[in-house]
Symmetry: D2
Subunit: 338 residues, 4 copies
């Protein structure tokens, strides 16, 4: 069975996670090399995993190693350069989200890969989660009739460090872009208008931090007439709360949090169960492996990728509109920002 | 044990419900008379329940029967006249919500009862539901720390008949006024700004009906900085879906739907449980009796009522702002409409 | 609407509960008198409830008050005398379980009421609980096919005081007779063989107490071939744990504990929900009122009672066999003890 | 990182499952060869997985390939011969349960491996399941105080083919040996007495089949005084129902079924969720990989295995006693059968 030879560029939190998955085994894929500008920091760890091909310069890596596809996990702002280079080599790419924190540059990326005609998948891993994909399947198959309302809960267990959000664009680009993609995916529709209410509510002491927003309620209006709401918090102390539901003309489909175990403890002071997982890495491990396996399958078997650059643009422009809505305290039509 | 002698004015759906509860037994209260302009229609039923004092004219009833308090269940637009008359007799009143569909008239009612100094309770029954009151208690006691986000789901099982909403003001006055009250009650805070997205989404064929809106997502901004979301549908075919949660600095408190039974049936094609109750009358029966018992307790023992005219005004002006927001597609500050 | 005039004999825990229900309102029934040998202790309380007819001697009560039916809540060992007397007056009876702690005397009671031809209902209240009756209904209607296995959990929150069980016969007569009735009711079948394993496991310090058994696992064999298990504890510190399920050829029907509220609290150390109710009085309040309403309906409308003396005998002889099984460490056939 | 070189003997359902896991990746282990007497049937499949070393004769395999440890997945009755041979080569063994269907031969296996001093782990995979191991951990750590009652549900989705159970010893050796191990593991205690009620209840048409029993209720008495119950069915049409709970002096710990997804669908006719998994292979996949990883860790790092031959003997003799109990309709003391 042929395996897709994947090289990872970037060894931060997400890069490491993909590397670990590839070493552990992703169906149809094998890790052949890793490049990171700060390779000296990662080298020992990579060696312990048996990763022999280590490079500080990704261009050098692409020259020296036999590579089918690249997994782009660098800082978001470097995506464009990498994509341009890899596309010129006509290699397939799996790229982390968002494409860029500047929507115009994201469009450039989309144009480059389209022109180059290389397979290009974006890392919206939640689509590959068993819960969310079952929900999507039920809605798509008409189980609940015509979809009318989508509702997402998107909460994190701890605040990002000072400055982190700003360097990642903002909370909408860095985190809620997942929710915008999921909302459109579940509704099989496009968001037309967005309104955001929120602020530094969980930690008002950071209200002065440029672009810091920890709590928002996002209202969505879809092209076919449906509506949606996403409630977001970066500081839900009990865990990574991830809920979704779609209300339709024939009923409601709803997923719940997965938890480490189902064990209940009944005592004199009440009944206790596990809290949700701590972070997306704990909650969605299988989905990260599954998205790479799907990517390998697409490239090896010449199938269209399951989440492309256009999907990312569709989510990123909602992020852009959401940021504008919050700043100007008004509903924003997506077409204003395209 | 002295019981409060209550007369009911109005024998529509809600009037009948209160009458039935009073006949069945509400702690501290007894039904002494009923008045309804269409008494001929209700007389036989009332007689079968043992209600002897039946009147077409409520003024006549108040003259002839020894009455401590009146339960106002008439059409909303008649509240003002009744309240004015009953207040002049210095009798206590329990009045269904909203006070009026015209906020200025509602303020008039509040002013009348304040001036008359009579006990006046408004029918926000959900505050007396065991689930909601436990949620409120936990939040008030600081169990989840400082409240940051309130989230309500408010869905009905079937659409109102054509014209019904308009004659009840609109969906915000008639139904979601309960949600506005609950949101403020749970957050122990006042709504400052509201934004509504929605329309005739469940039944687009009724888009032409003046004021018809079946599906909305309502965003709330509170005075102390918290936010909220209420997702509303008048056509959730699976039942009266009533959820609430409050996220705070120390955790989340959340209530679930109550259901007729806990029975699960496991079969080859899946596991099946009861759907939620059909309507508010099925879901909240105990709360309707409890609010009257609380009212009787307040009047008999000279305690302040637990939900007063001011509470109703606070919810009604949010309804007014919500309607404006939907019409003008913009966030509306509550102070615009006071 | 005519109401059944009920007199209660006995004002212990169960007697008080029925009195309270009747005062609060049981459909089709009204409380007309109470008799208790220790009336001086109860008189003030009864007067506060508005119960005028108070007697120390139940025979005097039956002479002096116009009574349709008697609710027998005396000490179990006195049931026989009372039943004999009331039957001679041809009045209907609702009698608490078990009929007697001596199976021969229970049979005498059954014979007396049969001969007298008076309506006679036994207090197996769980049959009137919404959860259990829904489970029974599903099984009876064939929803799960042919019933094969019944499983009950029957746990109490606290140990009875020293000596209490022995004076009530034993744990099988006093408590698990409910489970034996329920097992046969749900399976629509008769228990043929029983085996009990258990002892003073929760509180080994009471192993010396004659007849004290706090924890048992009871195995049941039914006439039509099905089997069952009841796990019992008198000391489940977290509450009155009451579960039931029936496995059949087409699936499984299962009920869960009802709880005070559905509220969940999510915090850093886990998710907490309500524990089950403390005792049968908290768990089954509606069923106690419902069984009296059903009794009133049977007597007033000349319908057969829903739980008769024969049902009680069927459960009591299982209790007798269970006690023998535990003492002799062997399975016991019910026909040995009839 | 050194990996344990494992060869699998046997390529039936369980052998294939272990082979698949080893190919997919088991931490610390690698598959180096497979032997099966019917290798011609399996060869193509093994080749497709990249398994090069294929043998019809396991002795030849052990001679020709560099092997650290053997995973014994042959027919149960051949275990003894294989174990004797492998032990003589001083290699570590992972052996499927039960050791044998004849308890005397099982004891022989235990004696051989003890004498040879080779690491020997038995395939009680449920101990490595996240749910069961969390339950065990809570009980061991004293979270629920002194354990008093253990309760297991053990149901299969479909009947084994005619003759299958008999050739596997009987239902107690083949299937419920898992439950006996788990009951003792959770209670951290030894079963002293067992009583079984049951028969061909789900499929009475197979009552004539020698040793066929599809439904049982098993009562357990433990050495330290606790009790237990296991309810078993081989035909629960809704799925592989696997429940466990332990009641202790301070509370109850209870696990629930895991299910494919958490998705709920609410419709007019009720709310539907996933049924449990179909079989142990679907329910426990992670535990099968985890037991092999633990075995590799034990062998590589010279730690005692986590489930040894003695554990298997302790469970097998309960199976033996259970079979006797059912045949003779009496409680059987374990010491009778040792």
């Amino acid at each position: 069975m042929r395996k897709l030879k994947i090289a990872v560029i970037g060894a931060g939190v997400i890069g490491k996670m993909h590397i670990r998955n590839l070493v552990k085994g992703v169906e149809g894929a094998e890790l052949v090399a890793v490049a990171s500008p700060s390779m000296s920091k990662h080298s020992e760890w990579l060696t312990s995993l048996g990763v022999v091909n280590q490079f500080a310069d990704y261009k050098e890596m692409l020259q020296k190693v036999d590579i089918d596809a690249v997994c782009v996990c660098s800082a978001t702002t470097v995506h464009l350069d990498i994509v341009r280079h890899v596309a010129s080599l006509k290699k397939a790419m799996f790229c982390e989200k968002p494409l860029d924190i500047d929507y115009q540059r994201s469009k450039e990326i989309a144009a480059i890969v389209k022109e180059a005609g290389v397979p290009f998948q974006v890392g919206f891993n939640r689509r590959f989660d068993a819960q969310f994909s079952q929900l999507h399947k039920l809605v798509s198959e008409g189980e609940i009739g015509r979809p009318q309302v989508v509702k997402l809960t998107s909460r994190e267990s701890e605040l990002p460090p000072r400055g982190a959000l700003q360097s990642a664009g903002n909370v909408f680009f860095d985190i809620h872009v997942h929710d915008f993609d999921m909302a459109q995916y579940l509704m099989n529709d496009t968001i037309e208008r967005v309104y955001v209410e929120g602020g530094a509510i969980a930690d008002p002491s950071r209200a002065d931090e440029e672009g810091f927003v920890d709590t928002t309620v996002i209202t969505l209006k879809f092209a076919k007439g449906g509506v949606g709401t996403v409630d977001c918090s970066l500081l839900a102390v009990y865990g990574h709360d991830q809920l979704a539901e779609v209300l339709g003309s024939k009923g409601l489909a709803k997923l719940h949090n997965t938890k480490p175990t189902t064990v209940e403890v009944f005592k004199e002071d009440g009944v206790k169960t596990d809290k949700p997982y701590f972070s997306c890495l704990d909650r969605y491990p299988a989905s990260y492996a599954a998205e790479l396996a799907a990517f390998a399958d697409s490239v090896l078997n010449n199938k269209p990728v399951r989440v492309g650059a256009e999907d990312s643009l569709r989510a990123e422009r909602v992020a852009l509109a959401a940021d504008l809505s919050l700043r100007e305290q008004r509903p924003v039509n997506i077409k204003e920002v395209i």
